[in-house]
């Protein structure tokens, strides 16, 4: 009692989001397409079950009809029948094991694909709020838990239920009285199951959660390994990991105590049932010359009783796996029922002319619905125009880029591309025409060629070489022994930061965009290379609408228009010379840069003006 209370107390109450029925529906939706395999599997299960029920009966016949009446000469007959049954069982078993594996694996295979597909289609806001490691854990560890349930749990349930029913029927036919006596223990069993459901589920949830946390912690440690090492915080990170590991350990122990108390209880109940059975038989037969219940019947009953509890024990096992799978399914379902906040319009429009005119019409936006990051943005960017966004860090420049790509939708107002609201455009059209080169370059752990062609594999090698040459990337690549086949390592860690940026830039150029947002795309690139990039970009992106976000003002000398943002608002715009003359916001940045870059020379410049 005290223990149960402690247990209940220590289990954190957590919102249960789905009922078992919902989860099962979800689950069966994956089995449905494999109905045929399912049916054949069930047939094999039924055959094995029938055989399992039948063989003891043959045994009973052997004892009652042959051995006790001493019919030795015919004993071989019944023995061969028995052997044939075993032989059939063997063959069916082969099919059964294979089919069950198939059904389980194919279901889980489909579930994984489905979940992954759903996940990749979700909008960016989802990913900004999730830890990668935890999502990875769902797709791998959690779904594997479901697989284990299918392999080890579900396989047995049909067999065991059939067996249970079959055995009870045969027992009834043999002796209703004995059967009822044997079944006296069932209410206790039901009660045990009821208790288990509650506590085991909680414990399994905790296990799943801690495994996800472990995964996330390891992933983070791997990604941040240099930071951890340089600040010599290994011991602390180990300790933190140890704590999560301890959580996992506790949850496992808890689950084990719960589940393991069930088996022995049911076993004891089984022995007690035998006791009842034999006691009853003796009581009935007491004083009778010709026993009402024959020795054969009792022997068969004891065997049936054993066979009755065998499936019940397996069912508890199933039940435990089931709870574990349900806890895992809850997590899978949470992802798959998450709806993308960016939805494609059911009747999408494609602009008549694809020129690349972008208009922001009174756009307001906030990430957290509390703090507006963009306020009343009104902006028109003409086809082929190149504009620069300048401003204080955190002013909202990158956010503008994210809105153009529809990572988010504005809270108010609208953005149009060639006079069509972005929300009306087909998503595939949008991402084909609009490209963002992000602040932090990301490369896949694959070859340089793969990374350059990513998203536009139709591009020829020649084009790749050409663009690389134009922006000075080929110099870098030719340094590597493997050239374009060099593997860049996870996230591209085997390249220098500037090299990564260059690659990421080239990738954008190769996709031939209509609109391109360069978000500090060359911030870590040296001046010479940057100069080369600039020249090449002007040529390659001649017709594209270009939005450049940059802090190094020298890179902006040639843009058509400079837009200055401050705290989410556009405060100034115009050409380089105009803005310098105006001595407004932009001039401040200019001055600051000149001051730090060429302290002492500003006066000189002012004199020259």
């Amino acid at each position: 009692m005290g223990f149960a209370q402690r247990l209940a107390g220590s289990i954190k109450k957590e919102e249960r989001q789905y009922t078992d029925v919902e989860l099962l529906k979800f689950f069966f939706s994956f089995i449905k397409p494999h109905r045929k395999a399912g049916i054949i599997t069930i047939i094999t299960l039924i055959i094995t079950s029938i055989l399992a029920v039948f063989t003891p009966y043959v045994l009973k016949l052997a004892i009652d009809n042959y051995i006790i009446p001493m019919k030795f000469s015919e004993l071989w007959k019944i023995t061969s029948i028995y052997a044939i049954l075993i032989l059939i069982g063997w063959i069916v078993d082969i099919g059964r094991i294979y089919l069950i594996s198939y059904l389980g694996q194919v279901t889980v295979h489909d579930m994984r694909n489905y979940t992954f597909d759903h996940l990749t289609d979700l909008s960016m806001d989802f990913f900004e709020n999730e830890e990668t490691g935890k999502l990875v854990s769902i797709l791998t560890n959690d779904i594997d838990t479901v697989a284990e349930f299918l392999r080890n749990g579900l396989t047995d349930i049909v067999t065991n239920l059939l067996r249970l029913i079959g055995i009870i029927i045969i027992m009834f036919i043999l002796s209703p009285g004995l059967t009822l006596v044997t079944l006296l223990v069932t209410p206790f069993i039901t009660f045990i199951f009821y208790i288990v459901r509650k506590y085991a589920r909680e414990a399994y949830r905790e296990i799943r959660k801690s495994v996800a946390k472990l995964t996330a912690k390891i992933a983070e440690t791997i990604n941040g390994i240099t930071v951890i090492k340089v600040y010599a915080q290994e011991e602390r990170v180990k300790k933190e990991f140890g704590e999560i590991n301890e959580e996992n350990y506790r949850a496992n122990i808890k689950q084990n105590i719960i589940v393991n108390s069930v088996f022995p209880l049911i076993r004891s109940l089984s022995s007690i049932a035998i006791l009842l059975l034999v006691g009853y038989a003796v009581w009935v037969n007491q004083g009778l010359k010709q026993p009402a219940i024959s020795v054969g019947t009792i022997v068969a009953f004891i065997r049936y009783e054993g066979m009755l509890f065998d499936p019940i024990l397996s069912l508890t096992m199933f039940y435990s796996l089931f709870q574990s799978a349900m806890a895992a399914l809850e997590r899978v379902k949470r992802i798959t029922s998450h709806e993308s906040s960016i939805k494609e319009d059911p009747n999408p429009l494609i602009p008549k002319e694809k020129k690349g005119k972008l208009v922001f019409d009174n756009v307001w936006f906030s990430y957290d619905k509390q703090r507006f990051v963009l306020k009343e943005i009104n902006l028109q960017i003409d086809p082929g125009e190149s504009v620069a966004l300048v401003g204080h860090t955190g002013a909202g420049k990158s956010t503008i880029g994210k809105l153009i790509l529809r990572y988010y939708d504005p809270d108010n107002g609208k953005i149009t591309l060639d006079d069509v609201d972005l929300r009306k455009l087909p998503l595939s059209f949008l991402s084909k025409k609009v490209v963002l080169v992000p602040q932090e370059p990301f490369l896949f752990n694959n070859t340089i060629m793969y990374n350059l062609k990513y998203g536009h594999f139709e591009v020829t090698d020649e084009e790749v070489y050409h663009v690389s040459k134009e922006i000075g990337l080929d110099r870098v690549i030719n340094k590597f022994p493997q050239k374009y086949d060099t593997i860049v390592g996870p996230r591209g860690v085997q390249l220098s930061q500037g090299e990564k940026q260059l690659l990421s830039f080239a990738r954008a150029l190769l996709s031939k965009p209509l609109v391109v947002v360069l978000d500090e795309a060359t911030a870590s690139v040296d001046p010479f290379t940057e100069y080369e990039i600039q020249k090449a970009t002007e040529k390659i992106l001649e017709n594209a609408t270009t939005i450049i976000i940059a802090h190094r003002l020298s890179t902006l000398k040639n843009v058509d228009r400079i837009i200055v943002m401050e705290e989410g608002e556009i405060v100034e715009q115009g050409k380089w010379n105009e803005l310098i003359k105006k001595q407004g916001y932009f001039y401040d940045y200019y001055k600051a840069q000149v001051l730090s870059e060429m302290s002492g020379l500003l006066q000189l410049e002012e004199k020259n003006n």
């Binding site: 028995y82 560890n141 020795v295 054993g306």
Partner: protein
């Protein structure tokens, strides 16, 4: 466990007695006694069973906990290079799923194998007592089975290994897709990632089916064998009953015992599978444990107490990441204590690689790096690193609060110290505007704050630890010029008395530097102060001119230069 198995085995024996007593001898006194015994035994057996399960469970879970901690410890101590060349997803599944496979073996596997073995031995012993010749049937059929199972293990073992690797691959694809989700989204890469995942998933499925085939081939043999044994017993045992060699009771007991073998037989099959899976997992874990660290403490490592002076010398340093492509080619550099130096150079010229050697993320292949006149390999690794604040080029933040991120290098920092650091990094005003202030969660890698804000959190983190060497690798690339200027002023105070190395592409900022090193192809090609370098009219001068904002200024500089000459 012995008790619980024993108790369970005695019950059928008692039943035999009951049948003989009640039906053959009709001895009711004896019968009541026997029924009582069964009852007591049932309770004992249940209780013992529970205890044995739990105690083995505790042991197993503890071992696994320790194993996982050990794996993590070993992982975190690996060389930086280790992580540059391994797929994250593979490392993830090793520490989770592979350890899990071992857990299953230890927690369930040991129990069922023990219980199974004991049941087997017990039953064979009891059968022996009932009738020796019948036991022969069991043994004759049992030995070939044993061999069959060994073959089974040999065949599925490698399959499980492949499965584990494929599983790691699967997790790696998810990991990479999520980490690069913005690129995936921006380049409509969803179909690409999906098909990668589907392929990998398909391969995983195929491997599963291959093992399923092996299972289907081998495991039913076990059950069938048991069935044939029973058939044999019916025939020969029945014969024996008829000829009066054994009683009906013995015969029934015999059959009952045989039936009791079904469960442990299933255990054997189950155990074999678990064993092979755990073996595959263990092999993969072994890889983590067995890769030796190259960067480690030397035998008589010097623990640094107090502060270093901060003199840094690179002496003819050669370095390559892969041992093939040279990155640093005979680099020489001398930085005096307390000097502020800048390193400049084209992309990929080796700037980051130079500073990576100072906290010993890597060791050079040739040449030495000395701090305060001593080869850094002689210092105790951690105490060396504690002397260094390092802001790396690609900012990494942990997905916790701003506060914890700033205090990462100094967990016991007071709130005042944290705020002070944030103020220096020009971050405080921004933080105070956030609803949760310093407790704002920054998201994975700091995704929920802007690029410039991320960089400044990393700077604040470095400022907070009061080290003797400060390294800033291109840390203002995403910061606007106004903020940068403020930042520089504030940092200037912090830099007092420290040796500072700054890598930057913003060449104009370098007037302050005591020395500027121009690096090309892993070598220093020019060095000196700003003035000296400009006067040289070499590469530095060229870059400087190209970076200026206005042609007029450039002219002015040029004029000034020529006047100076």
């Amino acid at each position: 466990m012995l008790f619980s198995v024993g108790a369970e085995l005695i019950i059928p024996l008692l039943i035999k007695e009951i049948i003989d007593a009640a039906f053959i001898k009709q001895d009711y006194m004896h019968l009541k006694l026997l029924l009582g015994e069964i009852f007591v035994l049932a309770i004992i057996s249940g209780g013992m069973n529970f205890l044995s399960r739990i105690s083995s469970e505790f042991g197993a879970q503890k071992t696994v906990k320790k194993l996982r901690n050990d794996v993590f410890d070993s992982l975190i101590n690996k060389d930086v290079q280790y992580f540059m060349t391994r797929e994250t997803g593979q490392l993830l599944t090793r520490t989770t799923a592979d350890v899990e496979a071992i857990r299953r073996l230890l927690s369930v596997g040991t129990r069922i194998s023990l219980q199974g073995t004991m049941t087997y031995l017990g039953i064979i012993f009891l059968l022996w007592k009932i009738d020796v010749s019948l036991v022969m049937i069991v043994i004759i059929m049992g030995v070939p089975l044993l061999f069959l199972m060994l073959i089974f293990g040999k065949r599925v073992g490698p399959l499980f290994m492949k499965q584990r690797i494929q599983f790691g691959d699967l997790s790696n694809i998810v990991q990479e897709t999520l980490e690069g989700i913005s690129v995936v989204k921006s380049y409509r890469g969803e179909p690409i990632q999906k098909s990668l995942f589907h392929n990998s998933n398909r391969k995983y499925f195929d491997l599963q089916m291959k093992t399923a085939l092996e299972r289907a081939r081998f495991l039913p043999v076990l059950y069938a064998a048991l069935g044939f044994m029973t058939a044999g017993v019916i025939f020969f045992g029945g014969n024996a009953v008829i000829s009066g060699v054994i009683t009906v009771g013995s015969f029934v007991a015999f059959i009952t015992y045989l039936t009791m073998l079904i469960v442990p037989t299933r255990f054997v099959a189950w155990f074999l599978v678990m064993w092979e899976q755990a073996k595959a997992g263990a092999k993969r874990l072994h890889e983590i444990f067995s890769v030796p660290e190259k960067v480690k403490n030397s035998p008589n490592a010097i623990k640094i107490k107090g502060r270093l002076n901060g003199e840094i010398i690179f002496e003819n340093v050669y370095f390559s990441y892969d041992g093939v492509t040279p990155v640093l080619n005979g680099l020489n550099m001398h930085i005096n204590p307390g000097e502020k130096v800048a390193i400049l150079g084209a992309i990929g010229s080796g700037k980051t690689s130079i500073v990576n050697l100072i906290p010993r993320f890597y060791d050079p292949q040739k040449g030495v790096v000395k701090i305060d006149g001593i080869n850094i390999k002689k210092y105790d690794l951690r105490s060396l690193r504690r002397q260094i604040s390092f802001v790396s080029q690609d900012t990494f933040l942990f997905s916790t609060t701003i506060k914890e991120n700033i205090a990462f290098g100094k967990p016991d920092a007071t709130m005042e110290e944290i705020i002070e650091a944030a103020k220096i990094a020009q971050l405080h005003d921004f933080i105070m505007k956030l609803p949760d202030k310093y407790d704002t969660i920054v998201g994975e890698r700091g995704i929920k704050i802007s690029g410039g804000q991320r960089q400044r959190v990393a700077i604040a983190r470095a400022v907070l630890v009061n080290s003797s060497i400060l390294i800033l690798d291109d840390t203002t690339s995403s910061i606007d010029s106004k903020t940068e200027r403020e930042l520089q002023k504030a940092l200037w105070k912090v830099m007092e008395g420290k040796t500072v190395i700054i890598i930057t592409q913003r060449i104009g900022n370098l007037r302050f530097a005591d020395k500027i090193f121009l690096v090309d192809n892993g070598k220093v090609v020019e060095s000196g102060t700003h003035e000296e370098l400009l006067n040289k009219k070499g590469l530095y001068w060229e870059i400087y001119v190209s970076r200026t904002l206005d042609p007029k200024i450039a002219e002015a500089i040029i004029k000034k230069q020529s006047i100076g000459e």
